[in-house]
Amino acid sequence: MSVSPDSATAVRTVADAVSEPLLSVRGLRVSVADGTEVVRGVDLDVPRGSAVGLVGESGSGKTLTCRAVLGLLPAGVEVTGGRISLGDTELTALPAARRARLRGTHLAAVFQDPASYLNPSITVGAQLAEVLRVKVGLARRAARERAVELLHAMGLRRPEHVYAQYPFELSGGMLQRVLIAMAITAEPELLIADEATTALDVTVQAEVLELLSELCRDRGLTLMVVSHDLAVIAQLCETVYVFRDGAVVEEGPTRRVLRGPRHPYTRELIRDHERFGIDRVREQGSRR
């Protein structure tokens, strides 16, 4: 960034120097096996300790961008260009096993439909304890105790009871809390929440969003939130990137983008969301 006499920019430069981006994506390209490009040169920065939102309709490339960051693209889809750096580490150059070691301890993710992301034949507690044993290196008994503590910290009542339940015995909201516990248990720096609250009903969604922002505040977690729901983004994120057809069409502070969208697509997106109470969120934003 060039030095400018403008005071506002000067302040921003100082702020940027303090919080240099934790995650930095440059010119990311992702293609399907037949050569079709589905992510076409995405640039994005996630400053340490912040919450950044990715918004756009389905098929806009936001989820594939996240999967590329995680190093878990579906079969037949691969990164064909660009760089992804997490802190000082350049991820795209790393072999698969090294990337697997980074997952859990440096970056983690939760998705929509939490029930399907848990093994149906193992109790949720045992799956949480497994992460603690493998990624944190705790002994069996210590892992169990820590797992119960974590379940409690995620706002789950009767954590010992929850520990012994199979996924099909718990509700969607409870399962998402369990998955969030699993994601943050090895103390990653970056948590990707890909439509993490989409399938939940409104009150449960609000509770899970509250939990996520608490984690951000209390544990210094950096959050990357993917949603098609502008209300979710508005509630959690300082910065938003608007995706369309595999590219970023608009980016900026969430309040600015929501109040004064520049790109016609963003305006369309906001108009579509107005019916779902986005106005209220925008008013709250402007009062703050």
Binding site: F111, P167, A183
Partner: protein, 322 residues
């Protein structure tokens, strides 16, 4: 956890409940078939020179003068009290012949089972992990061939290679474990391999299919997101949910490894249960056939009970599959 124990007990109980009628019906059918043949064991035993009076006395000794149903009831009553009767021809108690031959059959079956689990397991898992790859296709071809090759063809091929071309193993016969483990094992290897091949092929195919499906599940992605190592995801998370069909198929092979090993036992001249049953059946020696049948049914019962319990333990959330 208590529900898991309860479900295991229920699975065991269910296997026993099924076994009782199966036992009654199958022994009854063999009894009837024995009675319906016009072979008269009494005259066969006594030979051509016997007088009709001798034959009549012999029939009385065998109990053949009584109606078929009464004979069956009597046999069942004695069997329940541990008395399986004696061979009509050799007068040797059936229980003793079975006790002599069971170790042979059980060692061969156990060896074959072990080979089937190891070979089928390793190649099934590898094929599933390398889906669509060269190894996967090779496994598909080899298992398809093996599953269609009859046991005696495999047995003869193995003898040709390992006893004739490269004479390292005996072509047949038997030595008890008391003769030294290497000798015992040398007689065991070829029959075990011959008997295990189609079971191994079936296990590999079922495991490949079951595991290939589970590897596409979201919870596998979930486990990868948590950063668990690849081997752990396959062997702990996917195998648990994908192994059900393979376990069930293996359970169905177990009775065949014991009671159905007639041909392999004949080719390798093994004094096992299969060979005993064959000789008895050809001679119309009903008590021996009944006794051997009882053992086979017992093995079926135990293996299906074990399989049911194992399936419940593997997938506590699933409804029963077999």
């Amino acid at each position: 956890m208590t529900t898991l124990v309860a479900r295991s007990v229920a699975a065991l109980g269910r296997a026993l409940l099924i076994a009782v009628p199966v036992l009654l019906v199958s022994t009854f059918i063999t009894f009837m078939l024995g009675g319906l043949t016009d072979q008269d064991p009494a005259s066969v035993v006594l030979g051509d020179s016997a007088t009709p009076a001798d034959v009549a006395r012999m029939r009385e000794v065998f109990g053949l003068d009584r109606p078929l149903l009464a004979r069956y009831a009597l046999w069942l009553w004695d069997a329940l009290h541990g008395d399986l009767g004696a061979s009509w021809f050799t007068r040797i108690p059936v229980a003793r012949s079975i006790a002599e031959r069971l170790p042979v059959s059980l060692s061969v079956a156990a060896g074959a089972l072990l080979i089937a689990v190891v070979l089928g397991g390793v190649f099934g898992v590898l094929a599933a992990v390398r889906q669509g790859g060269r190894l996967d296709r090779a496994v598909t071809v080899v298992t398809s061939v093996l599953a269609t090759v009859p046991g005696f063809v495999a047995a003869i091929a193995l003898i040709t290679v390992f006893s004739l071309l490269v004479p390292v193993l005996p072509s047949g016969g038997w030595a008890p474990a008391s003769d030294g483990l290497p000798t015992w094992a040398s007689f065991l290897v070829l029959p075990c391999v011959a008997l295990s091949l189609d079971a191994a092929a079936d296990v590999a195919r079922q495991l490949r299919t079951g595991l290939a499906d589970t590897l596409h599940e979201n919870y596998v992605v979930g486990a990868r997101v948590r950063g668990l190592p690849g081997w752990r995801i396959v062997l702990v998370h996917a195998l648990r949910n994908g192994a059900g069909p393979a376990v069930a198929v293996l359970g169905m092979h177990v009775p065949r490894l014991i009671g159905g090993a007639v041909i392999v036992e004949t080719v390798f001249a093994l004094p096992g249960i299969g060979e005993l049953t064959k000789t008895a059946a050809l001679g119309g020696d009903v008590p021996v056939v009944q006794g051997a049948l009882l053992v086979t049914i017992g093995v079926v019962l135990v293996s299906s009970a074990l399989v049911n319990v194992l399936l419940v333990k593997l997938r506590p959330a699933a409804r029963r599959e077999i």
